[in-house]
Each structure stands twice: as structure tokens, then as C-alpha cells.
């Protein structure tokens, strides 16, 4: 017979050494992984709102340079007699920057926690049942979208990327940048990555927020799929339209 006594490995992570001081509620919540998932869901909803209205506003480019540039000017003059020019826009931008920062930080620290939770990976091949391509590549689709946003800001907001960039001439800049085929393809690829990210994220947020009810559970997956599809179709149409010459000054 085999020996009956077995040496036990030290059980995983040690408990934290000193109890941390109680912090204000949001910080207290953010210290926990469940709390970080709440933050990811809430910031995700905010970013989804941005992505949706960004796409909706950009549809104006199909109405021609007049409408599109007028819409861009309207964004800068939101609530203008009440607040100075671009103030509302900047408040929304600050909200977005905070949401992005929290979303990325929470994702980073949860990823580290998850990697630590399995120090030896499965040596055989895994056979996943429910985890899909979108859910398993969230980190990568997130990184692609994040890098793309930096490029996108340089391309159409800050400096331009090699075409004749005129600050504030929104329609002409879109035409100048996206009519270059490689750039157009980059926009298409990045938006498909965004679609994958949304396909899982827009479903996942319901679970993280604790929004679970037999009345609407079957709609959650559909909502995520439809939302992702609307965003991808809308956003991908812009570079295609510019490359095809449907949108453009020339």
C-alpha cells in the first residue's frame, strides 16, 4: 500500500498581514474584486453610451460637410448661454477620461489577480463549453481598442497623421485620413475588435451589476449582440464610405 501520510503544500495565498483601515465606501468597495467588477460595469455603461452617441453623431457625415461640421460646432457650444463655450464638452471629456482610467486599472488589477490564482496552467488542452472567443479575448480586444483610441485622437483631433490636417475642419479631415486605404482598413479592424469587446462586455455587465431576473434574462445576450452589431455596422460604414467615395470633398 502507498504510504498514508502525505505532505501538504502550504495552502496558496496567505491572509493579508494587517487589516487595512476602513476607507470611504467607494474605495472600500474598489478594494474588492466584486467591487472592481461593479466599477468595470458602471464605467463600461458610460463608455457604451459614449460609443453609441459617437456613432450616431458621425452618421451626420452622410448628410454632407455642412451638417457634419455644424454638428461638431454644436458639440462645442452645448449649453452655451448658461456655460462658456466647450465647457460642457470638457465636462463630458473628463467623465470619459475618468471612466477609461478606472476601466483599464480595474481590468489590469483583476487580470493580475486571475493570473496569480492559477500559477500552473493546465498542461493538457482545455475544452471550453461556454466561454466564447469574445469572452476569452477581452484583454486583447480591450488593448487593441485602447491603442486605436490613442491613434484616433492623434489622427482626427490633435495633429493629423500625415494628411493635410486642419483643426476644426472635421469633414475634410475625415476624408483626408480615411481615404488612405491602410488607414481605412485599420479603422475597420479596430471597430471589429470593439465589436467583440462589446459582445461580451454588454452581456457581462448585467451579471456584474447583479441585474438578473427571469423576466429579462433571455434578452441580455440578445441586447449585447444587437448593441455590438449596431456599433460595428455604423462605425465600419464610415471608412468604407470614405474609401468608396460616398463621403468626401472631392
Amino acid at each position: 500500500m502507498a504510504s498514508t501520510t502525505v505532505a501538504r503544500a502550504a495552502t496558496s495565498r496567505p491572509a493579508p498581514q494587517k487589516p487595512k483601515r476602513r476607507a470611504p465606501l467607494p474605495i472600500e468597495l474598489y478594494r474588492s474584486a466584486v467591487g472592481k467588477k461593479y466599477v468595470m460595469a458602471i464605467t463600461g455603461i458610460a463608455l457604451m453610451g459614449f460609443v453609441f452617441f459617437h456613432m450616431l453623431g458621425n452618421l451626420k457625415m452622410y448628410l454632407g460637410p455642412g451638417h457634419f461640421n455644424e454638428y461638431a460646432e454644436w458639440l462645442r457650444t452645448l449649453l452655451v448661454p448658461f456655460l462658456p463655450r466647450t465647457t460642457t464638452l470638457w465636462l463630458m471629456r473628463i467623465g470619459l477620461i475618468v471612466a477609461f482610467a478606472l476601466h483599464i486599472h480595474a481590468a489590469y488589477s483583476l487580470t493580475r489577480m486571475n493570473h496569480a490564482a492559477r500559477n500552473t496552467k493546465y498542461q493538457g488542452r482545455r475544452d471550453y463549453v461556454a466561454a466564447n472567443y469574445a469572452s476569452r479575448t477581452m484583454r486583447w480586444s480591450g488593448i487593441i481598442v485602447g491603442l486605436f483610441i490613442v491613434w484616433h485622437l492623434f489622427d482626427l483631433s490633435w495633429t493629423g497623421t500625415g494628411y493635410t490636417f486642419v483643426r476644426g475642419a472635421v469633414y475634410e479631415n475625415v476624408d483626408g485620413s480615411l481615404s488612405r486605404i491602410p488607414v481605412g482598413i485599420l479603422y475597420v479592424v479596430a471597430n471589429i475588435a470593439l465589436g467583440f469587446h462589446l459582445f461580451h462586455g454588454a452581456w457581462s455587465l448585467f451579471q456584474s451589476m447583479g441585474w438578473n431576473n427571469p423576466r429579462f434574462n433571455r434578452w441580455r445576450r440578445d441586447f449585447a449582440a444587437i448593441f455590438a452589431a449596431i456599433i460595428v455596422v455604423g462605425n465600419v460604414s464610415f471608412p468604407l464610405a470614405v474609401m468608396a467615395g460616398v463621403v468626401g470633398v472631392g
Binding site: S12, E28, R118
Partner: protein, 254 residues
């Protein structure tokens, strides 16, 4: 049936392991998976070799002791079935079957396919317990429990604590286990008085050992008791409420 097994062999917690290949000819398709391993072990022992160490106890699918990652799936290919209730007829003659232990930092390997799942005990302990004699059981129907509530609590209480949820989870999260343990008490009227203290303590303990949930849904597919991830959403909700409520109680303490 003639099978080929690739089994993870590891001499102890600190040594490194490796896959070893064993021929398993003449297996009856009516055997359970564990009975098949018993046969292989008998042959190994007869050859003077060290038998494969694996966890098992009741072999009725109710104790949660058996484990095993079979062909990359926790508890093997059959849905809602623990390894001990998995029959060899679910495999084909000539198959190669890869058998690996659960992999999680919180479930260190003791030997071969046997892991230490006592991190689950730490979570359950954090939920609280009594050590005084609290009298005999009250009358069964003294506290009315609505039928749907009783059913939902029973669904959660079906958890046998096998750890398949952690093993199947790409993040090694123990959300399904903890949420089932939290829910089967939190749903019932008897569990209300310590509902939020229990939720907070159990979740905080869970996070010391395991990963975080990213809603893959892999756990509910692996669960031999088919516990749904709906309980995870409920636990998240209770955890947020716990953070709000417990603080209110704390502020009243002198």
C-alpha cells in the same frame, strides 16, 4: 474497450509532474470512470508500480470528493455528472483520455490527481457557525417558506463543493461555489439575520484565495449539480448591499 490514458503523475506537492501514458485494454463500458481507474491501478500494483492517486469517496455523485479534468473538461464530457457517475460508455473504443488534476493556486496538488481543496472550508467557515447546543430542531413547518423560494434555496444547496467551478473557470474564480453557499442561506427566512455579514465575510475570504469572475459561464457548464450563474448575480447584489449596511451597523457601535 481498449483505451489509452495520459495521466498526470506528480510524486508530491513540491515536485514537478509529468504526463504518463498507460494502456488500458479490456475496459467494460458499464464501468464508471473511477472503476476504470481502479482496474488500471490493480494492474499497476500487480506490476509492482505505484498506483495513481485520485480523490473519491461516496461514488454516488453526492459527496463532491471526486474531481479530475478529463479531456480538458471538469468531470468529463457529460453535463451535470460527477466523475464517479460518468460511465465508460460515453467514450469510444480506442480513445485516448487525458486526465489532469484541478489546477488552481488555492488547490495545491497533494499527489498525482489529488488536490487540497481546504480553501473552500475557509470560505464556509467565514460564513459563521455555532458551537453551542441550540436545542432540538424546531417544527418543520413553523416558519413558512414560499415554494419557489424553497426550490431556489434547494438548487443552491445542491452544491457538493467538488471545485469543478474553479477548475473549469479560466480565471480560477470560486464565484459559483461561494454564491451557492451564500444563496442557500440568504434565500431562506432563517438566514436573514446574518445575511449581509455572511455575504461580506465569505466574499472577502474567497478573494484571498481565488480569481475574479469575468462571466464566461464555464462554471455552470462544468457543475455536476447544474447550479446556474444566476446565483453569482445575486451574490454581487448582496455584496454591494452588505458594504452599505454593515457600515451603517458599524457606525452605531460605540
Amino acid at each position: 474497450m481498449d483505451l489509452t490514458l495520459q495521466v498526470w503523475r506528480q510524486d508530491g506537492p513540491t515536485t514537478s509532474g509529468r504526463f504518463e501514458t498507460y494502456a488500458a485494454p479490456g475496459i467494460s463500458e458499464d464501468m464508471s470512470f473511477l472503476e476504470m481507474l481502479d482496474v488500471v491501478n490493480e494492474r499497476l500494483a500487480a506490476d509492482g508500480k505505484e498506483p495513481i492517486t485520485f480523490d473519491h469517496d461516496c461514488r454516488e455523485g453526492i459527496c463532491g470528493t471526486c474531481s479530475l479534468m478529463i479531456n480538458g473538461k471538469a468531470h468529463g464530457p457529460e453535463r451535470g455528472t460527477a466523475t464517479c457517475q460518468l460511465h465508460m460508455r460515453k467514450f469510444n473504443d480506442g480513445d485516448t483520455i487525458v486526465i489532469e488534476p484541478w489546477r488552481a493556486t488555492a488547490f495545491p496538488i497533494i499527489k498525482d490527481l489529488m488536490v487540497d481543496r481546504s480553501a473552500f472550508d475557509r470560505i464556509v467557515e467565514a460564513g459563521g457557525y455555532i458551537t453551542v447546543a441550540a436545542g432540538s430542531a424546531p417544527d418543520a413547518n413553523l416558519i413558512p417558506v414560499p415554494k419557489p423560494v424553497a426550490d431556489a434555496a434547494m438548487d443552491a444547496a445542491a452544491c457538493i463543493g467538488c471545485g469543478a467551478c474553479v477548475a473549469a473557470c479560466p480565471n480560477s474564480a470560486a464565484q459559483l461555489f461561494t454564491s451557492a453557499k451564500v444563496a442557500h442561506l440568504n434565500l431562506l427566512p432563517q438566514g436573514q439575520s446574518e445575511r449581509y455579514a455572511r455575504t461580506e465575510a465569505m466574499v472577502d475570504t474567497m478573494e484571498q484565495y481565488f480569481g475574479s469572475c469575468t462571466n464566461h459561464g464555464e462554471c455552470q457548464e462544468a457543475c455536476p449539480k447544474e447550479i446556474p450563474i444566476d446565483f453569482i448575480a445575486t451574490m454581487n447584489k448582496d455584496y454591494l448591499r452588505a458594504k452599505l449596511k454593515n457600515r451603517r451597523y458599524l457606525s452605531r457601535t460605540p
